[in-house]
């Protein structure tokens, strides 16, 4: 440097206060919560640890888990989507109707099923596009837009089903069912898809430009705009991404029961959002983590599973236990911000 400088002020020593150790522990909060729950569950009923039960739990977590991965992006970017459960129902119904009607021309084969899957992803993406555009260009609060579509999607499905069930053609169902019930290398396919989505989600969030921009926008939209980030585009993309995740989850869901009813996907939005928040993503956006969301989703399903496997408290109080566990887990990881 050109001018002689006075000696550098000494650098403050790195501070490892008890606080920062706690903070680290806090980050692992949901995981510790899940482990604690698993221990309690195993004590209550050793069947909990059987391979088949664990595979049941993870398979169940796949639906809301996949949606929650997409929801993590939306929430980190500062948005919210209340419509995912209704959208899943609508996609399930439309997908079944489309496949049933294709049977005549294409038969009950792979072609029909692939077209059905494609339709599911397309409807999800379109719904996401609608949400994203209305929220950004229409400048309406995400809460309102998706509260509105929450009603609309489910109503349309109910209309399509005339209040009853839309059932998948039995032949197609037989060809399709391995997508839910099948296994690859001994692992149920929904779990594999869930894992793939989570890994991909983590990669996108932490290692791509897009993921970085999502965090920047959620942290401070103005800053992102000044950094020449296409805020509108990135935001719309988060909703589209979530829509595609909903489509994917529905693709796994339909072969499970082969039908869509007005109660399909009921309250999935709450589960998905809760998984994200329990996982340590702040509702106000800016930062979050996919693995936390995955743990959150598994945790929520596990609570229900443990309650079904045991009989220690009145069935009436199941929801109370769920609530209590949620609060306790959050307590473990509190005070990070």
């Amino acid at each position: 440097m050109s001018t002689p400088n006075p000696p550098l002020p000494e650098v403050a020593p790195p501070r490892v206060t008890p606080r920062s150790v706690l903070t680290r522990l806090g980050t692992l909060g949901p995981l510790l919560g899940l482990l604690a729950l698993a221990v309690v569950a195993t004590l209550l009923n050793p069947d909990f640890l059987t391979a088949s039960n664990i595979s049941n739990v993870l398979t169940r977590a796949a639906f809301t888990g996949i949606i929650a991965v997409g929801m993590t992006f939306v929430i980190i970017s500062g948005g919210i989507d209340l419509s995912v459960g209704s959208l899943a129902a609508l996609i399930a119904g439309s997908m079944i109707l489309i496949m049933n009607s294709l049977k005549g021309s294409l038969g009950a084969g792979v072609g029909t099923i692939l077209l059905g899957m494609l339709a599911a992803l397309a409807i999800g993406a379109l719904a996401g596009l609608f949400h994203g555009t209305t929220i950004t260009r229409g400048r309406i609060e995400p809460f309102i837009v998706t509260l509105g579509t929450l009603g609309i999607y489910r109503a349309v499905l109910t209309y399509l089903a005339q209040g009853g069930a839309i059932s998948l053609d039995l032949d197609i169902g037989d060809r399709y069912s391995p997508v839910y019930y099948g296994r690859l290398l001994g692992i149920p396919i929904p779990i594999l898809v869930f894992a793939a989505v989570a890994l991909l989600g983590g990669l996108i969030l932490n290692r791509t430009r897009y993921g970085r921009y999502v965090q920047a926008i959620g942290s401070n939209e103005q800053v992102a705009r000044y950094a020449a980030i296409n805020v509108t585009g990135v935001k719309i993309a988060t909703y589209v991404l979530l829509g595609v995740c909903v489509g994917l989850a529905t693709i796994l869901y339909v072969p499970q029961l082969g039908s869509a009813t007005p109660s399909t996907g009921l309250l999935w939005e709450l589960d998905a959002i809760a998984a994200v928040i329990i996982g340590g993503t702040a509702l106000r956006g800016g930062s979050g983590r996919i693995w936390g969301t995955v743990v959150g989703a598994v945790l929520l399903v596990t609570i229900g599973n443990v309650l079904n496997l045991t009989n220690i408290i009145s069935v009436y109080l199941n929801a109370a236990v769920t609530g209590l566990v949620i609060i306790l887990v959050a307590f473990f990881q509190r005070g990070r911000r």
Partner: protein, 298 residues
């Protein structure tokens, strides 16, 4: 009671949120079309409500704004709707209550009902008969916490108690919902190595239960009994399905019966029977045909 003036009849039912209520909505609309065709002076207004409060509001609107002369109501829940129905009746509206009796019978003029106690009892009796002297392990899926569900489960338990060899392992809520029933059944299968029979207590839940059993490839379960007569399930009974040997009726068409009786009584002026009970009967391969409505959504 006069034949010329216009009769406006209000029909208030739960909105279609699972198979059985969907059937109610379907049959109500069928009956409306048929009755309005038969009696040109009759106008029927159908309203569906998602919960008790909304239903209370709707019947208030029907009475004060639509000025109905008679109300046919299938209450979401008994207790919460007793007072609102009583208020409507106090305004001079003829009230027919369907399925779920009010806590104060004075609030209704006529009552057309399915028989929840019989619904549980008939199923329970079938279990006793089918499992025979050796008995067996039974798991139960309950509906949503409501009085109806309590009545059905109590009656079922009372009936199977006749055979002390029958053991009810557990009864958890499946919320009259396929997905929840699937999960609960999966966990029952994890937890109980030997289950002989399942009372799913509802055909929607039976769908989920059957899938869970299929997935686990368990052979110990001899049969599953749903209930309420969903067309797919009646078809299975007709076809002699091993897992689904019987069903118990709880016909959603009771709403149509109630509407017909009410309208006839209003138009002809003949009094309506205070209580009409539509029995819950066991559907077997022999009589299944008469309970099969392929056009209904349920």
């Amino acid at each position: 009671s006069q034949s010329t003036p216009r009769q406006v009849i209000g029909v208030s039912i739960p909105s279609a949120d699972h198979g059985w209520t969907a059937g109610v909505v379907y049959h109500a609309n069928q009956a409306k079309a048929a009755l309005e065709k038969k009696y040109p002076n009759v106008q029927i207004i159908i309203k569906t409500a998602k919960d008790s409060t909304e239903q209370a509001n709707q019947i208030q609107d029907l009475a004060t704004v639509n000025k109905i002369g008679a109300l046919v109501i299938l209450p979401q829940e008994s207790a919460p709707l007793t007072r609102p129905v009583a208020n409507v009746k106090a305004k001079g509206v003829f009230v027919t209550v369907v399925d779920r009796g009010l806590t104060d019978p004075k609030a209704q003029d006529a009552y057309v009902a399915g028989d929840n106690t019989a619904f549980g009892r008939v199923a329970g009796e079938y279990f006793v008969q089918r499992l025979g002297a050796s008995g067996g392990n039974v798991v139960v899926l309950r509906g949503i916490p409501t009085v109806i569900d309590n009545q059905r489960v109590a009656a079922f338990n009372a009936a199977v108690a006749k055979n002390p060899k029958i053991k009810v392992l557990d009864a958890k809520y499946g919320n009259w919902n396929r997905d929840d029933a699937f999960k609960v059944m999966q966990d029952y299968l994890t937890r109980f190595p030997k289950i002989d029979a399942v009372w799913a207590s509802d055909d929607d839940m039976a769908v989920g239960v059957l899938r869970a059993i299929q997935q686990a490839r368990r052979k110990d379960i001899k049969f599953v009994v749903g209930g309420a007569g969903m067309k797919e399930m009646i078809k299975k009974v007709m076809d002699g399905d091993q897992m689904m040997p019987v069903n118990v009726t709880y016909p959603p068409s009771m709403i149509a019966d109630a509407m017909r009786l009410t309208v006839e009584s209003r138009v002809t002026g003949k009094p309506m029977k205070a209580t009409t009970i539509i029995p819950s009967v066991l559907v077997t391969k022999a009589n299944a045909k008469q309970f099969y409505f392929p056009d209904s959504p349920f």
